[in-house]
Amino acid sequence: MRTIATCLGLAALAGTIVPAVLFMLHAVPLDAVKSIMLLSTIVWFAVAPFWMKVT
């Protein structure tokens, strides 16, 4: 379970920054950036509790 959460979490973090970098390099349109970032945000908050331990 934790492995799946880790993979999804990393994918979500990548989905938060990579589209923006690609936009900066004029590789993707802004609408795609916003959509992917929103999806990544939802995924991140869904999996973060399973991945990140709070001490």
């Binding site: 938060t16 900066m24 945000t41 908050f45 709070v54």
Partner: protein, 470 residues
């Protein structure tokens, strides 16, 4: 920044209900000490917050130069880290006490309650400014023009819709603070890495929209821009925006759990990720609006609109969460402070009082839009108290003044501390108000003067006491 109080919520405690639960009135035992890794994430999360969305653009509004933003912020944040490492962390690991318990030993319980109140009030205004920031993220969710957003020169509410937004957001934050601080602390912990990447994403999108990777040129103000903050001003701002935490010793309460003083280096994650990078990323947002839309930088643009334009709903969620995770523990902590001042009231009532004050502050954009000054004043009022602890810890024995005098005499109110604290603060506030001295220049001289006055007054008191005995 912190400006922030996210993980200090337990420290305000003057209520008996939490006594002993977090070693609030004893040294932290060796078995509870943590390695440095426990602090790196904490500092990164604490200093990537809603304030960053305001501070970056405010630098642009104040005509900050590219050199100031790139090198001045670097230097100032480095100085902040060094202060944490070589002052705060050293005392924290030696004493292993909370700021409040250490102050109680020096100043007496009743005087600490006054410090608590000052801290609580200032935190309410800070939380209010975060309500303002979060409220700007609500506007883009409604039809254009339905909620008028404040600008940098706004001091009064912009209309009924704005007031309603602030009340709803502030009420929600207060209700969560009533339920317990733990949930929001968890949310802040989860949000931190994602939030940092959203800041970076905002910068990347802005560079893409401006068709330029020349950050230096983009951060250079147009010719003729009035420069209201100098290189030195930026250095001092970034050094002392968290004055209450490092030189003011509030982070004793956190770093007392560190195994070694080297844990103080962990503040670098907050200073260089949360402050340095996030502030520059946020500044670029306003640069885009000035260059592409021709807005007046001195009036600025609210964070919600800028972030929505850059990265859409993910950004709006980030603005709300960033403001929330800063404001919520602050409301909780302010409630504890008020409860300490008014022992007959319940924590619920105290938290509601704090929440109401935060909402009132949030409705008036003045605090958020003047964050560069407010943060400096915040440090000016609270940092001097840390100087007293520095004198007590490092110099008392050498200078021949008593250590922990209130504890040894049984006093609940050390007048020397009160005078040493208030006189420099009064002078500093006079300089700010009458002579327009930049607020961030004031914490350091106030702290130095406070430390010197404390030594002087303590020496005179101990001399009188010795004379009385003979």
């Amino acid at each position: 920044m912190n400006a922030t109080a996210s993980l200090h919520a337990t420290d305000t405690d003057t209520s008996t209900s939490r006594a002993g639960s977090e070693f609030e009135r004893e040294r932290v035992p060796d078995s509870e000490l943590k390695g440095p890794s426990a602090f790196w994430g904490m500092y990164a999360g604490e200093h990537t917050a809603g304030t960053e969305f305001m501070i970056g653009p405010l630098f642009v509004a104040w005509g900050a130069s590219a050199a100031g933003l790139i090198f001045g912020l670097l230097l100032g944040n480095l100085l902040a880290v060094l202060t944490w490492r070589y002052l705060t962390a050293v005392i924290a690991c030696d004493e292993r006490l909370t700021l409040y318990y250490k102050m109680e030993k020096i100043a007496g319980r009743n005087l600490v309650a006054i410090y608590n109140l000052a801290n609580g009030l200032l935190f309410c205004f800070l939380a209010g400014s975060m309500i303002t920031v979060s409220a700007t993220a609500v506007g883009p969710l409604f039809p254009a023009g339905m909620i008028e957003m404040p600008t940098f020169d706004s001091t009064l509410p912009t209309g009924p819709a704005w007031i309603a937004s602030c009340i709803v957001i502030g009420a929600a934050m207060t209700l969560v603070a009533l339920k317990g601080y733990g949930v929001v602390a968890q949310m802040g912990h989860y949000a931190a890495p994602w939030m940092f990447l959203v800041f970076l994403a905002c910068a990347c999108v802005t560079l893409g929209k401006l068709h330029s990777l020349d950050v230096w040129q983009l951060l250079t103000p147009p010719p003729g821009t009035e420069q209201k903050i100098s290189f030195l001003g930026i250095v001092f701002f970034s050094w002392f925006c968290n004055a209450a935490m490092h030189i003011g010793m509030a982070d004793l309460s956190v770093l007392r759990f560190a195994r070694k003083p080297t844990a103080g280096w962990a503040s670098a994650s907050g200073m260089f990720l949360g402050h340095y990078v996030a502030w520059i990323c946020a500044a670029l947002l306003l640069v885009y609006w000035v260059r592409a839309h021709g807005i007046d930088p001195t009036k600025g643009k609210d964070p919600g609109t800028m972030v929505d334009d850059a990265v859409g709903w993910a950004g709006l969620i980030c603005v709300i969460i960033a403001g929330w995770t800063t404001a919520n523990p602050t409301i909780y902590r302010a409630g504890l402070a008020f409860q300490g001042m008014l022992p007959g009231i319940s924590r619920t009532t105290a938290t509601l009082m704090a929440g109401a004050l935060c909402i009132a502050a949030g409705i008036f954009p003045a605090f958020a839009m003047n964050l560069l000054s407010f943060v400096g004043l915040y440090g000016t009022v609270l940092a001097p108290v840390g100087a007293i602890i520095v004198v007590d810890h490092f110099l008392a024995d050498r200078l021949g003044i008593p250590r922990d005098p209130a504890e040894h005499t049984g006093s609940t109110f050390n007048v020397n501390v009160l005078l040493a604290w208030l006189i420099p603060v009064a002078v500093a506030l006079y300089c700010y108000r009458v002579h327009n001295v930049f607020a961030s220049y004031l914490p350091l001289p106030s702290a130095l003067a406070c430390g010197f006055l404390y030594y002087l007054l303590s020496k005179m008191s101990s001399g009188r006491a010795a004379a009385a005995r003979t």
